[in-house]
Amino acid sequence: MDANKKGLAKANEIYNSRGAYAREVKKQGKRVFGYFCCYPPIELLSALDIVPVRILGDMDEPITLADNCLPPVMCIFCRSAFDIGMKGQYDYFDGFVGAHACDGAERTSFIWSNYIKSPCNFHLDIPHTTHNSAVDFFKEQIEYFKAELEKSAGEEIKPEALRKAISDHNHQRALVRQLYELRKPDPPLLTGTEMLKILIAIMGMSVAEGNLLLTEVIGEVKTRENVQEKKRRLMIWGSLIDNAVFTELIESSGLNIVIEDTAIGTRPFWHDIVETEDPLQGVAEHYLKEVLCPRTFRDSGSNYAQDSDSRFGYLRDFAKYWKVDGVFANIIRNCDVHGYEAPVVKDYLTDLGLPVIMIEQDYSTTSLASLRTRFQAFAETIGS
């Protein structure tokens, strides 16, 4: 890796050579842990100076080895992540943190630990509701996670270290939100593709390095003059996108991505962890209540309208402040939690007068090409 590269160029390089950066960090003697989805509290890893690496799939790699352990009817993202795991993509992990986010993530975490062994291995159970006792339970599970980490690290997590990690990650969240601010102008100063690369980059770095990178990027982007042309402004809701080929396809079809409510988007970054007296209290509250993946059952309002409003009101605000023209509801095939939610979200957004295009896709770069016409047509639809 080129050490002199900074900001966007650096993010781009890290994105392009997945894993290379983490492997280098490891060479420098740091421990690297992999984690599934945006629920494991990585603050605990940072507190032990362990570098958290978000486990992603590879839309560009045909799934072969996973076929023997995970059936084709399973979430294709999970299958892909496991597949490249089996192919050695993540063989440098010192630890693996699985999570009961959704069925797919949970089962994959379990089966992952059967095949891909790493020195430290923890499966974090996550309750389905936001009831008070659920938060308490989740906090207990996080405490077990903490204990296991300390055992494997041979040192305990000092409260002040944890507090520092939390504030560092909160700082990271703030920086990411600043980047989102820079996408409010029309045309946005930052493309969806650039954003994706930056977020994936920092999801494979130590929080300190990540924050440094973000600061550099913000510096560069602020001073930009309209780098791209005006296009229809698109919000993405739903399953994650972890490959720039996808965002490039969208943004070359007459659309600018301005905000994405996904697991590689606003969800992990939108809310800060409240720094409570017992730090883990704030951590538990944050991950269970403020990471807005439909996997969590939020019971709110006494009828459909109220319920939708309190569950999706934030989408209305996104649409308002980012001047969204249309919404792409992205569903990776076999993703149940988004599948059940999609028609409800579509109702809600359509009532707000926002056109919605819902696409179930196969999480494979080769099957993307056929989507181009749909995005162009959607751009024409909201343009007319």
Partner: protein, 284 residues
């Protein structure tokens, strides 16, 4: 003022040349591998039909699968918008369009001449013209005969697989069991109609419903779909050209919206060359 719309589909290429009020010339030809470069020829023929010079065309809009690399087009628009515009020009009362093309089938929702929603299926060949070409080959039935023959069936065969390759296999099995060709075809049409209907239902089917594309020329499919929908559909006199027609209409608007010198500038850039058909991006 003369304008043209060219629709390069995956299987068939269509051109419409029109003036403000009427269609002057249309040409329809197979796209097939070696034909693709003939889009140029097709344009030339279309011009000859209404003896116009290439220069006399104020604006040209390309649409369809191969729209991206038509060097002599001033503008590209997706087939979805174009079909909608074409059908709306022909039948202003239409609210839902079902287009069954060579390689995909779509549903388009129209409201006050604007497209409000659409859905598209192109993952598998079921419910597309290609399906029937393949089946036709196996059963030794010409594409255009499939519909009429199927109408003779009393007892449509039960077809379990919609995957073209295996439906083909199943058709063979049924044949060797002694099931009649019309029953097999009727069964296949029924199954495909169900598939198409299920897809289009997602955007809520509202009256009037128009059917376009090669599928609309298959009377068996039309009847099977109408049975599913529960009321008759309207069919354009030539269901294949609605896309090209829509493209021509858009070309007309563009031409009217531009000042003469802007148009001249466009024309100068325009090259009457062969279509270098393929969309490079999709090769990635």
């Amino acid at each position: 003022m003369f304008v043209a719309g060219i629709d390069i589909g995956s299987t068939i290429t269509k051109i419409v040349i029109k003036n403000e009020t009427e269609i002057l010339s249309t040409v329809i030809t197979r796209t097939g591998a070696e034909h693709r470069r003939m889009a140029l020829q097709v344009m030339t023929d279309a011009l000859a039909n209404c003896d116009l010079s290439f220069e006399s065309l104020e604006c040209i809009v390309a649409t369809g699968y191969g729209r991206i690399n038509v060097p002599f087009a001033d503008q590209q628009v997706t087939e979805i918008t174009c079909h909608m515009r074409g059908v709306h020009w022909l039948f202003p009362t239409v609210r839902t369009i079902i287009d069954v093309g060579g390689q995909d089938s779509k549903g388009i929702k129209v409201k006050d001449g604007r497209q409000v929603d659409f859905i598209m299926n192109d993952k598998c060949a079921a419910g597309t013209g290609r399906f029937f070409e393949v089946i036709g080959d196996v059963l030794g039935v010409k594409l255009e005969e499939i519909g009429p023959i199927s109408l003779r069936s009393e007892k449509p065969a039960d077809i379990s697989s919609l995957c073209t390759i295996f439906a083909e296999q199943e058709a063979l099995l049924r044949l060797s069991e002694g099931t009649s060709v019309e029953d097999i075809l009727a069964g296949l049409l029924k199954a495909n109609a169900a598939r198409i209907h299920a897809m289009v239902s997602k955007i809520r089917i509202e009256k009037d419903v128009a059917m376009t594309g090669g599928g609309a020329k298959n009377i068996g499919l039309v009847k099977a779909l109408e049975q599913k929908i529960g009321f008759p559909m309207v069919l354009p006199p030539e269901p294949l050209i609605t896309g090209a027609l829509g493209a021509a209409l858009i070309a007309g608007e563009t031409a009217r919206s531009l000042r003469t010198e802007e148009l001249r500038a466009k024309k100068e850039k325009r090259r009457l060359e062969a279509v270098t058909f393929f969309d490079k991006d999709s090769v990635r």
